[in-house]
Symmetry: C2
Subunit: 358 residues, 2 copies
Amino acid sequence: MSIRDVAAKAGVSLGTVSKAFDDNAKVSPHTRERIRLAATELGYHPSAVARAMVRKRMDTVGVIFPPNFAAPSRPAFYSTIFDALLEAAMIRHKDISLCTGRLWVDATTSLSRFRDGRCDGFITFWQPAGSDLIPALLDADVPVVLLNDRGSDPRLSYVDIDSVASAHAMTRHLLDLGHRRIALLCGDKPVSTVVPREEGYRAALEEASVAYDSALNLPGTFEPRSIESRIDTLLDLPPAQRPTALFCTTDSIALVALRVLRQKNLRVPEDISVAGHDDLPGVALEHPALTTMRQPFGTIAGHALDLLVSQERDISARGTQLLLPAELVVRASTAPPLITTSLKATAPLHSENKEVNE
Amino acid sequence: MSIRDVAAKAGVSLGTVSKAFDDNAKVSPHTRERIRLAATELGYHPSAVARAMVRKRMDTVGVIFPPNFAAPSRPAFYSTIFDALLEAAMIRHKDISLCTGRLWVDATTSLSRFRDGRCDGFITFWQPAGSDLIPALLDADVPVVLLNDRGSDPRLSYVDIDSVASAHAMTRHLLDLGHRRIALLCGDKPVSTVVPREEGYRAALEEASVAYDSALNLPGTFEPRSIESRIDTLLDLPPAQRPTALFCTTDSIALVALRVLRQKNLRVPEDISVAGHDDLPGVALEHPALTTMRQPFGTIAGHALDLLVSQERDISARGTQLLLPAELVVRASTAPPLITTSLKATAPLHSENKEVNE
DNA sequence: GGGGCAGTGGAAAACGTTTTCCACTGGTGG
DNA sequence: CCACCAGTGGAAAACGTTTTCCACTGCCCC
């Protein structure tokens, strides 16, 4: 059941059948129709493998997720971006081949997938320190795009959120509401969600002439335990120093924070405001609905794929680095702080911020 | 950089190089070594695509997960079985191509992947009612194995847990501890986790001459809300009818139950015992560690893959249906009930069960 | 009427393997 | 000394496409 049989049945040559399935090839409508009809009657389906061999590409991108990415302990971020990638790939007639598990941490497995011809390139995510994956791919001239993180190698293409700007925007939102003591809840250091978001946070504070207080930005990890203990420390501060708002640099962190606060019988946003970042699906359904920065997941995935394709065509096209804006989504988890000692400086600043905000 | 270049460099013919990479082919150790050396020097890597073309198989199995399987709202079950599949495939030198997302619900997308030659067969999971996926694959003689569910079509191969036996074992465990009022928490009907597990539960009760009480087996869904409301109803029962143990037919349900009970300030297992089913990773780390039935995920995945491969070789080998035993894992979430009115019938039965248990 | 030209379809070479058959070698037993 | 055999390596045919070149057909315009 090959292209030959169709050609025989339609009474044309083999090459013409190939052209009949290529919308850009010049075949008269009549012939095209006749060939297509013959193909359907024969139940012919072109072989992707044979096509891949002559074209020298499989139209498949390998997506390298961290090991165990689908585990519920993993932030929902991965599943969300995964769906976005799937959709973006479908539109571009690309296949996604999932490369995950602990065997993918080392570069050779991925590399062999590429040299095999099974993948034309890779989309990958944050790698733990000491991982040789990205350097190895770059050195081997393998098309690769890093998603939602950044790299220092100028050859590396990446697509990330402009985290400085987004953290700035969220901090500004909280300041506008009248908060002055805004705690920052980050994860571990090396990820792009941490450093730039801290920077945006501090910049916004500075603009509003609010002194940065390191007691409100405790170091910690993404682990629920770390988040919980930091919240404990923050709530144990004397009332005048206690934060009136929690800016979690990640929705996953915010979700934990919400749960912890609920356990402590603190009301959000009445007793304390909570803001997240990412707008993962589902955070709008929390109680209260989470105020957060929306990542344009679809756009991110689309750009990543496009960047990858252009590298596949010409490897020298790599090194494009995209920072996309996130959008503030105000929901129910943030509100002006209750009247406390920390409120005294509010009135003047609030009006000032209002005009900036518009 | 093809097999030809290696042949030239090693001074042998093209076919000999191919054989040198096939461990079963007859090539003298000397020649083989020489060829391998030449290949390494040239940086030669065999093309999986060319191989697939002549062999007519891609050594890739499509795994069709329910849409959005990685979302955290999805039971961790999927990510666990996914990891097991990945591992099993690696051992068998097979690739896994993930086929998920809402576009996979309809059969044509999967089918075209098969006719393409990109997949040699599929592993799939529970399908919503009205899905044409499995019938369509079977009708098209596509190798397919259903995992952790069952189908009525005799052509369908599946690998599932012997849920009747496992539910029986867990119910027995709770009876042995002295529980007489054991509530069952199921999900929606059509899944194999529900009907057979209910059957095993009832059988164990009957054996122990404990009357089945439909008030302890309320219908509901997998949704947290449904679980919560059923627990509410159960706890509102008059003390004599209130359950002393909760058998959740799924760890995901048990996890929710644990959370709900914690919110109600009920201690597990002192106030009420909770048992799960599946032994998802992480349930051992809960507080308290969950007593559950361990699914042999690795074995399940291995059998599934083997069943699929045998179908790929000969489509008439399909229709094999495997039921694997689960293993009782007793941890901290189950304990004998406190002395209550329901305890009076305990003593005789307990001793009787003890001997059965050994 | 002839020379280009656009439009169409065919012939054939590639793509990089696997696999089958065949030939050659040297050793061994009759 | 010859025939057979095991062991080894080569030649060549597949596998099913895409793509490049080439030829043919009308057609238009000079």
